[in-house]
């Protein structure tokens, strides 16, 4: 597939105070039409990157290309980039309709035509009949939709969203996630989305760039990130993981033999080349663990149940396994299957495929 790049960050750095680089050497391509999410913990430089793209911050180093054209020295209003802010930033002194008409009016679209297009945009986000109201008279979810309509109405090729759902409650949030995703699919607009909620990132994005310390740790599809995290940070930031610390005994291609701290040996997938004897942390997802036999090419670890937590659709066991007291096992709940009790000795099986030996933590 020929990649059609819309936005390219080339060696971008940013410092606010001249001491610390908030963004260090950012190289990122955003493909035309894709939904790309910048995901990362607070303070990792997501907003800063977005603001540089929007034109509100200037890169200290490097350049940003939009459609092959350098954005250097191009003021924000000429970039033709739609933006949805975390607290919507709807103009409080204008009605809903005027808010959505604003980007068209400043582009000198005639009033009647602007009005028709704004009403269309409001209908698109399913907000009919509220156009005369002021933003303060709308609920959070409704304001969110107005902000979306306003950012999309002038048909920008790129829309930036900085934690647009951060202020909504969980249910509304999930609903809006789907709605934004469907809008994206329908309009084919390119979206750069910022969040620190990994579930949101996983469910909405085509690709996710995981940020930490001003560096992209990994850029991949949600599935790629979940199944093949490149390092321990990504493995732990996306989804849950159990960690077992140890040393690499030997490596053969992508397979490694790891000696855990309590002396047991574990076979694991090891995507990067390591030296014999180097420290490693093995990540194992709780839902990939089993208490029964699951065939060949598995690791079997003895353990002891500490706590059983019933979650309805599944059961979580907290167990002591290979020196880790917080080892979590997520079991599909079936009435027919007996659940172990605290104090029971168990043997945990996990496919070698599902054990990932990554860089050491701590």
């Amino acid at each position: 597939m020929g990649e059609d790049i819309l936005v390219a960050f080339r060696g971008v750095q940013k410092t606010y105070d001249g001491d610390t680089l908030v963004v260090k050497d950012l190289n990122l391509d955003i493909r035309r039409g894709e939904f790309l999410t910048l995901l990362g913990p607070s303070g990792s430089g997501k907003t800063t990157s977005l603001m540089m793209l929007a034109g509100f911050e200037v890169p200290t180093q490097g350049e940003i290309l939009l459609d092959g054209v350098s954005l250097h020295n191009m003021p924000p209003h000429q970039r033709d980039i739609g933006m949805v802010f975390q607290n919507y930033a709807l103009f409080p002194h204008m009605s809903i309709l005027e808010n959505v008409m604003f980007p068209l009016r400043v582009r000198k679209v005639p009033r009647a035509q602007a009005r028709a297009r704004a009403l269309d945009a409001l209908a698109m986000v399913r907000l009919e009949g509220l156009d005369a109201r002021r933003p303060a008279q709308l609920s959070g979810g409704q304001q969110q939709r107005v902000a979306l309509a306003r950012a999309l109405v002038f048909q920008p090729q790129l829309v930036l969203m900085d934690e647009p759902l951060g202020a909504l409650d969980k249910q509304l949030r999930e609903h809006m996630q789907m709605e934004i995703k469907h809008l994206h699919a329908r309009l084919g607009v390119t979206v750069a989305y910022v969040t620190h909620d990994q579930t949101e990132a996983l469910t909405m994005s085509d690709r996710i760039a995981v940020f930490n310390d001003g560096i992209i740790q990994q850029l991949d599809s949600p599935r790629g990130l979940y199944e093949n995290p490149r390092n321990s940070f990504v493995a732990h930031f996306i989804g849950e993981n159990n960690v077992l610390h140890g040393h690499v005994e030997s490596q053969d291609g992508e397979r490694a033999l790891v000696r855990l701290e309590d002396g047991q040996c574990l076979r694991a997938r090891c995507p990067r080349a390591t030296l014999r004897g180097s420290r490693t942390s093995v990540s194992i997802r709780p839902e990939r663990l089993h208490l029964e036999e699951i065939g060949s090419d598995v690791n079997a670890l003895p353990g002891m149940v500490e706590e059983v937590i019933y979650h309805g659709d599944h059961v979580r066991l907290r167990a002591r396994v290979a020196g880790n007291e917080d080892f979590t096992i997520k079991l599909r709940y079936r009435v027919s299957r007996p659940i172990p009790e605290p104090g029971d000795a168990i043997t945990v099986s996990v496919a070698v495929e599902d054990c990932l030996a990554l860089d050491p933590i701590g």
Partner: protein, 406 residues
């Protein structure tokens, strides 16, 4: 046996207690305002139309003059007789001066008329009409009698009319006052023009300062804020005197300009309109800056960013997004400045020329120099009315919710 109360009654009782509590909290302030604000204003408005002076010293003629209906001709003999009796009595009681002063407000020369008549008046006469006219023929002028009638109280429109340069003709209709007495419309216009210029200048100078204060980091904004507040901590007299020092013919400003060779003769900067506007603008500037600042401080920068991202160039974003959001502050600040400027006294009195005195100067003049309470009250009432009318027009223009600090 007590009946169980209905739900409504219990709610009512609970509400009443809450309301009483709330009332008790504001009661002291209410009482204070009543005594120090509402009652004086009501009293001032009463004095503007209340006119008991003449009827107290000349009760007979004030009562009798009601019978005078044909204003084109002289009143009847009974009225002349009542006047003679009143003059004799008040001459003895030494209250003649009160009557003379009150009549003199309305009819120039009435003072000499009254005293002259009192000295020449015989104790007995067959026709008081002829006797009085013989003493002074001005008693044959219906205008003089009209002045007596207007002063007969207890209510009068005389002061209020004079405050807007109107007067009653002898037949009771309204007409413009003679040109040499018509000064108050001019004064009122001048008061509004000065207040308007001062407000405009304050807005022009204050808006950028408020904007700067609201958008600078706190570290820099606080020292600047102190500079803005500094005038509040200096005596008004000191500040006004300082302007005199600065702006006089041999003052710093003129000396400086002359040293630079920009001007050859000193500019007249003080004891005229320029001085009044400069000094008042300086005094009133903080009253505009502070409300504007507090409103601007509440406008989040994200709105400007949003506008820019939606395609608005900086100036358009400023005019369409920022400016409208500062309107409540502009509204509150200009209204406050304007109303303060309308009633300003000390500064224009000290740095203004004779032809720059504002309404407040005349109110003070009538209160303390001539003790003409009626006129002082009437001017005060006119000022109050003009201010209220202006306020209602303004709040309608700017929108009701807008005239308030954030």
């Amino acid at each position: 046996m007590s009946q169980p109360l209905t739900l409504k009654a219990r709610l009512h009782r609970a509400e009443r207690r809450r309301k009483l509590g709330a009332f008790a909290l504001v009661a002291p302030l209410l009482l204070f305002l009543l005594v120090t604000f509402l009652v004086p204003i009501a009293d001032m408005m009463r004095r503007a139309v209340h006119d008991p002076e003449l009827s107290q010293v000349w009760p007979r003629v004030c009562g009798a003059i009601d019978t005078w209906t044909d204003r084109a001709h002289l009143p009847g003999e009974s009225v002349f007789a009542a006047l003679a009796a009143d003059i004799q009595e008040s001459h003895k009681a030494r209250t003649l001066a009160t009557a003379a002063r009150r009549l003199n407000y309305d009819a120039a020369g009435a003072r000499s008329l009254v005293f002259g008549t009192a000295r020449a008046l015989p104790s007995r006469a067959s026709s008081w009409t002829e006797t009085l006219i013989a003493i002074d023929e001005r008693w044959a002028n219906p205008e003089v009698w009209a002045a007596v009638a207007r002063a007969s109280g207890p209510l009068t429109s005389f002061f209020l009319l004079q405050a807007v340069d109107l007067e009653r003709s002898p037949t009771g209709g309204l007409r413009a006052a003679p040109p040499d007495e018509s000064i108050y419309v001019d004064v009122l216009t001048r008061t509004f023009v000065v207040a308007f210029s001062v407000t405009g200048l304050c807005l022009l100078l204050g808006f950028p300062v408020a904007y700067l204060l609201a958008n600078l980091p706190d570290r820099l904004a606080y020292p600047l804020m102190i500079l803005v507040l500094l005038p509040f901590w200096t005596s008004l007299l000191v500040r006004t005197a300082a302007w005199v020092v600065l702006l006089q013919d041999k003052g710093l400003v003129n000396e400086f300009l002359m040293t630079l060779g920009l001007i050859d003769d000193p500019l007249r900067l003080i004891f005229n309109r320029v001085g009044v506007v400069i000094a008042m603008t300086h005094v009133l500037l903080p009253f505009l800056i502070l409300p504007l600042y507090s409103v601007m401080k509440g406008i989040k920068p994200v709105y400007m960013r949003a506008a820019r991202s939606l395609g608005a160039p900086p100036t358009v974003a400023f005019v369409r997004i920022y400016l409208p959001q500062t309107l409540p502050g502009i509204g509150a600040g200009t209204l406050l400045t304007f109303i303060l400027a309308l009633g300003y006294y000390i500064t224009p009195a000290l740095v203004g020329g004779a032809s720059d005195q504002m309404l407040s100067y005349f109110i003070a003049f009538y209160t303390s120099d001539t003790v003409n309470w009626g006129m002082a009250a009437a001017l005060g009432t006119v000022l109050l009315a003009a201010t209220l009318i202006l306020y209602s027009v303004y709040s309608r223009l700017v929108g009701h919710g807008q005239v308030k600090p954030a």
